[in-house]
Amino acid sequence: MWCLFLGFWMTAVTVAAFALTPPVKGLGHLGKIIYFHVPYAWVACLAFACSVFYSARYLRRQALWDDVKAATACELGLLFTVIATLTGAIFAKCTWGAFWNWDPRQTSIFILLLIYMAYFALRQAVPDLQRRYTLSAVYALVAFPTVPLLVFIIPRTTHSLHPNNSVLQMDMLIRMILVAAIVGFTGLFVWLFPKVSAIEYLGRRAQEVDHE
């Protein structure tokens, strides 16, 4: 039932983002992409954090569900990261004139994309199932420290063209809609996650039955 409420929330956020908000200072109407780009990037990092959590649990408990959830979190994270990269590139083209110029934030989202792809490449390359789950869980944990390094530390130590995320300086209305968008997209992830995990779990059990 709550997904109906989520639907209304997301509709309201989208309408508000386009119709109600004023143009962002210095960026004009182009700035409205932040209502979509920022939530996608945030959920991409959240998905990775979930994957790391479930990977750690898998290493401790060796339960199939934990690996299913870790893999699902990575799947959804990959999707959100691709969208965040694309929206970021569009924004870059409109404001800085080039789709890609290795700005530290662009590099960090690109690296997150590479981590996800490497995770799936590893899963493909290991034929034995138990070993696959263990090795991919270990890789998620190894790759994890690089994300806060890239997302938070390096952009602050080097010069970046990326708009500074000084949320506190924003206009009240912009801040509210942005937070609402972030909450909405997080809700979207929370809604998708159990559904996709269940599908994945059932798929694996079906394969097991096939092999027997």
């Binding site: 290493l59 590099t107 690296i111 997150l112 590479l114 981590i115 792809m117 490497a118 490449a121 590893l122 390359a125 290991v126 034929p127 034995d128 138990q130 070993r131 263990t134 090795l135 869980a137 270990v138 890789y139 944990l141 190894v142 790759a143 420290p145 690089t146 390094l149 890239l150 530390i153 390096i154 130590t157 080097t158």
Partner: protein, 224 residues
Amino acid sequence: MNISRWIGQTLLMLQKDIKEEFRSKVALSTLLLFALCTLFLVSFALGGCPLAPHVAAALLWVILFFASLSAIAHSFVREEEKGTALGLRLSASAEVVFWGKWLFNLLLEFLLLLLVVPLFLILFDLRVVYWSDFTVVLLLGTLGLTTACTLLAAIVAKASQQGTLLTILAFPVLLPLLMTVTRATARVIAGSAPLQGNTLLFLGIYPCMMSGLALLLFPSVWES
């Protein structure tokens, strides 16, 4: 297990790997030949034109990164291929295996540095302004590279397509290190700035972080 016994076993591991390497010299030759070929190719292509410091730094780290990947993968893959992995699991604890392999890879890396860096400076006619900073950046960068790659090589040893898979896995994990170290090397060669405090901090923290991860995670990988 007390410390001295542990250290003794680790050094024994190192000795075993060195002896095995001397028999076939696969890792060493891959490492050195790749590095030398790349260096000479670029030097020839440039034909005496000077190389800008940031380009030179990038080139140096590209050579070190790719040469290391090919050689470090070999240390674990060889165990799996020759069938000695099971014997190793029975006779030594996971920590001893990891640190023994790590020491061996570090030795290979130092040999690589000893050969490549002087040639690099000579062939491209570079005059390093801050020598001590340059050495520190190279050593710490190599330490971080070795630690991360040894852990990832253990993961990759049990998969198929080890060569390409290690590159795919290692690149995102090593990128923060490579970005920092390339920039620092460029600055130190050009003389625009000596090694900065937070760069040194990062270069010191990265190997420690990777070692910590290895201590926690290697046993799961080794015993899977």
